[in-house]
Structure formats: structure tokens, C-alpha cells
């Protein structure tokens, strides 16, 4: 079983909407990978996430967790929401209590863990996300970047097997973005499957092992970044801009490119260029 989560012909129609938000979505999240789910605002990314934790029910089609279709029984849903952690785009939707310490413990207390363990895990999460200083600071005094980290901590505390993030870098400045991505890499390194929705193709290209492109509630492309982003014309037709780095790479003289994989970040590109004898 290679896919931790899979949707089969998933359809979702919000009541009163003109078009279905998901329109026969076939999407697979490969286990142990970092997947980027790309697409415009409104392409169905967020709706897919709500389905992934069983918050919405399909109008048609099904969602399979670890190969088994969801049955939406209360007990199953409770377990699913401990195994799949969803980080919402707006941390204000997710942070319920008024201090990081209280909030991070919230999910653990719901899961029925004993108090000493709640305390221990909460403190560990605070430390690993560099939030110790803010333990008892009220949430309304935190910056957006800090709130994002608190909401991530609240989800990670439950030690999910799959971590989903909806536009995690939206509104963040570059510094906070870097911190967040470094944290995600650590989480992924500890064996968690990670998937993020984003419309930032540069980010998707630099970060992901696997890329999925959604448009109008359907999955149009899926593959490794190299495979997906090489299809420049299709991306442009969808109004998505290919990653700048790849664009630059393909405009370089073939002599430089020969025998090299396209670089994933600016540093790598610089190294490749520096290694080139003529310069």
C-alpha cells in the first residue's frame, strides 16, 4: 500500500454553488513523501482537505485512508482526526484557547490522554518549535508567524501520520516562511507524510518530492517536480506560472545544463554555474 490517502472520483457540491468544488477528483498522497498540491484559489484544494479529515462528506465518490474507504462512523472519525493533522490557512480558525500552552494541550485533552503526558508533550512541542518564550503569552499578542507555529504545534502534538497544510506560507514574510519550512522538513524527517496546498509554484518546486496540480476540482497533473514542471505549456494554459528557477535554468546555454539535474534552489544553481569551467 503505497498511498496513505486516496480519493476516488470524489465529487463535492456546496449547496447553492454554481459549480461543484470537487468534480471527480482522483488524487493520491504517496506515503512518506512531501507532496505539493498546486492550483488557483478556488481549484478545490481546501475542500479536498476538509474531506481528508472527514469534515465534509462526498456528494459522490469516496475517500480512502490507508487503503480503506471512510465510513464516517463517529469512532472512526475520531481516530482519523488523530492520525491526520490539518493545519488551516488562517490560524485564527484553529487556535481555540488563549495561550500557546493551553491551546496545544487542547487536542491532547480531547484525545483523552492523562494530564502528566499532556503536560510533557505540550512542553516538548513548545520547545521543538521554539515557542518556549511564548508559553503563557496570550495568543492575541503573537505575530502571524508565531500563531502559525502555534497552530502547527497544536496539530503535531497529536503525532499524526499525515500532516496536511493549507497555504502554510500565505501572508508570511520570507523569514517566517523559512522557519516554517525548516520545521516541516524536520517533521517529515521523523517519518510523517506531509502535504501542502499552495499556489506558489516556486515554493512547490523547491520543496516537494511529488506535485499534484488541481483545477476546477479535478486533478490534472501528478508526478515528480521534474515531470510536472517541464509541462510549461499546460501550466501556462491553467494560468499557473512555472517556477522561476526552472525557467531560468532552461534559458541557460545547453552547455551548462548538460548532464545536470535542474537545481532546486538558488544555491544549487549558483554551485552549478560556479563549477562551469568557462566562467
Amino acid at each position: 500500500m503505497n498511498d496513505i490517502l486516496e480519493t476516488k472520483q470524489l465529487r463535492h457540491h456546496y449547496p447553492g454553488a454554481d459549480h461543484p468544488a470537487l468534480d471527480g477528483l482522483d488524487l493520491k498522497l504517496p506515503r512518506g513523501k512531501k507532496t505539493a498540491i498546486c492550483g488557483h484559489n478556488g481549484s478545490g484544494k481546501s475542500t479536498f482537505f476538509l474531506h481528508a479529515i472527514g469534515l465534509l462528506r462526498p456528494t459522490a465518490g469516496e475517500v480512502c485512508w490507508q487503503g480503506a474507504p471512510l465510513t464516517y462512523r463517529a469512532h472512526e472519525l475520531k481516530q482519523l482526526r488523530q492520525q491526520v493533522g490539518l493545519v488551516f490557512q488562517d490560524p485564527e480558525h484553529q487556535i481555540i484557547l488563549h495561550t500557546p500552552y493551553e491551546d496545544i494541550g487542547y487536542g491532547l485533552r480531547n484525545a483523552g490522554l492523562p494530564e502528566p503526558e499532556i503536560r510533557e508533550r505540550t512542553l516538548r512541542m513548545l520547545a521543538s518549535l521554539g515557542l518556549e518564550q511564548l508559553t503563557d503569552r496570550p495568543v492575541h499578542q503573537l505575530s502571524l508567524g508565531q500563531k502559525k507555529r502555534v497552530s502547527l504545534a497544536g496539530v503535531l502534538a497529536l503525532e499524526p501520520e499525515l500532516l496536511l497544510l493549507d497555504e502554510p506560507t500565505a501572508y508570511l514574510d520570507r523569514l517566517s516562511e523559512r522557519q516554517l519550512l525548516a520545521e516541516l522538513d524536520r517533521v517529515h524527517g521523523s517519518g510523517v507524510t506531509v502535504a501542502m496546498a499552495t499556489h506558489d509554484m516556486n515554493l512547490a518546486y523547491a520543496w516537494a518530492d511529488w506535485v499534484v496540480v488541481l483545477d476546477q476540482g479535478r486533478c490534472l497533473l501528478a508526478g515528480t517536480p521534474q515531470d510536472v514542471f517541464v509541462q510549461t505549456d499546460r501550466l501556462l494554459a491553467l494560468g499557473l506560472e512555472p517556477p522561476l528557477l526552472l525557467d531560468v535554468w532552461h534559458s541557460l546555454p545547453p552547455l551548462i545544463r548538460e548532464g545536470n539535474q535542474p537545481p532546486r534552489d538558488a544555491e544549487e544553481l549558483k554551485r552549478l554555474l560556479a563549477a562551469w569551467p568557462i566562467s
Binding site: F88, H93, I96, L97, N110, A111, Q141, L158
Partner: protein, 252 residues
């Protein structure tokens, strides 16, 4: 303004002192302020000043401004307390009214100082724990938790909406201000409903079981530094002795 007391409450010299201790201390002082002789009330006021500006290190100017605003209510009520209508319909200042007003001043000053001590040194989260200990119904605490969490967010939204209206020449003239304020409130309400939908999802994703619970109060370390404790005990004893002396003197 909404944020300032809150900010001091989370960041003051007495932040580490147990909220239970502070609430208990304030309760004792409230009772004393209500029942004691005016001189004792005045002493409470002065003593609270030492705790607020001295021990808790709240800026004097801020505390003074807070006190001044609160005393406006007293000032506004003053005419009704001291002015009397005589039988001919003329106004006069009544002596008993003046005495009553003076006595009221010391009591409100002492009580307000006690309130200020509590709210400037104890964050709202600490007060929640106190209410929890006092067996306040769970539902009330849950509602207060959510209210407190979103007060600031909504206040910011209202502020931004207000500024956006001003930026486009709105909020001028009586009619314009009433109309724009109505739109602002309507938008805020729409945001509230939106927020509810988002939050309901957020809550469900985190395994909402129907309850919103706080972590239990964990008391590590002393409730209050020893020096402050001794000060509290000794001065309270002195105040009680003073009050006892006043009672004894009155009985003679």
C-alpha cells in the same frame, strides 16, 4: 485602550504570584474597604498604590489616568449626592450630603484601587482558573474563554473597518457617521458568522468532544515571594487593629 490593561496583566512585577492568592487578597481587601472606617479605607487606597506602582511596577501615569476615568462616575454623581431641593424650590448644598459624598469617596477609592490591583496584576487566564476553582459552571467558563479569545480580533477588525471608511472620506457628519457605523456593525456581524464557520471546522479537526477544557492549575514554587507575604500579613493586621481601635472608640 482595550489592550493596555491586558498587556500589563501579562507583564508586571507580580505576574508570577498565584492568581488564587491575588484574588483571595483582593477579596479580603474588598470586604475591608466596604466595612471599615474612612481612615482605614484611605490606608487601603495608599497601600494598593504601593502594590500597583511599586511591587507590580505599573507606570504611575497609566494608573493615574485609569483612576481619573473611573472617578468621572463619582464626579458625575456628585451633584445628585450633595444638592437638595428645599421646600421653596431652591437648591442648596446639604451638609449630610457632603459628609456622605466624602465617605463615598474614600470607599470607592479603596475599592477601585483593589479592583485595579487585581486586574493589572492578574491576566484573564489566571482569573479563569480562579473562577474554575470557585466552581463557576463549566459552560460559563467555556463561553468566556471563546469571548476573550476573540475580543481582540474583532476589535482589530472594527478598527480597520473604521479606518478604511475614514480613508475614503466616510465617518463625517451625524448622518454619515450613523450610516457608516451601521455598515461597520453589519460587516462585523457577517465576519462573526464567517468566523464561526471556520472555527467550527477548526474545532472539529482537533477532535472536539463537546467540551473546551482548561489545563488544571499547577502550583510549582511558592504562591508569593516571602517578603510580600509578610508585608501583606503585617499591614493587614495593622489595618485590622486600627479598625478595631475605631470601633472600640465609638463604643465608648
Amino acid at each position: 485602550m482595550i489592550r493596555r490593561i491586558d498587556a500589563y496583566a501579562y507583564n508586571n512585577g507580580l505576574r508570577a504570584v498565584s492568581p488564587l492568592w491575588k484574588a483571595g487578597f483582593a477579596a479580603v481587601l474588598f470586604v475591608l474597604s466596604y466595612l471599615a472606617h474612612p481612615l482605614v479605607q484611605a490606608a487601603v487606597f495608599v497601600w494598593m498604590f504601593v502594590w500597583i506602582v511599586g511591587h507590580a511596577r505599573i507606570p504611575f501615569r497609566f494608573y493615574a489616568a485609569l483612576l481619573a476615568v473611573a472617578l468621572l462616575f463619582y464626579a458625575a454623581s456628585l451633584p445628585a449626592l450633595v444638592l437638595e431641593l428645599d421646600s421653596t424650590g431652591g437648591l442648596y448644598i446639604s451638609e449630610t450630603g457632603l459628609i456622605r459624598a466624602a465617605g463615598l469617596l474614600t470607599r470607592t477609592a479603596a475599592c477601585f484601587a483593589t479592583l485595579a490591583f487585581l486586574i493589572l496584576t492578574t491576566p484573564v487566564s489566571g482569573l479563569f482558573q480562579v473562577l474554575d476553582k470557585l466552581r463557576m459552571p463549566r459552560l460559563v467558563i467555556e463561553l468566556m474563554l471563546i469571548t476573550y479569545r476573540f475580543i481582540f480580533l474583532f476589535a482589530d477588525t472594527a478598527q480597520e473597518l473604521y479606518q478604511a471608511q475614514q480613508a475614503r472620506g466616510g465617518q463625517s457628519g451625524f448622518r454619515g457617521r450613523i450610516r457608516d457605523t451601521a455598515v461597520l456593525v453589519g460587516r462585523l456581524f457577517a465576519k462573526t458568522v464567517q468566523r464561526y464557520r471556520g472555527l467550527a471546522h477548526g474545532l472539529a479537526s482537533r477532535g472536539f468532544t463537546g467540551d473546551i477544557r482548561l489545563s488544571p492549575l499547577t502550583g510549582t514554587g511558592p504562591a508569593i515571594p516571602r517578603a510580600y507575604l509578610w508585608e501583606a500579613i503585617l499591614v493587614l493586621a495593622a489595618l485590622l487593629a486600627l479598625e478595631g481601635w475605631f470601633i472600640w472608640r465609638d463604643m465608648l
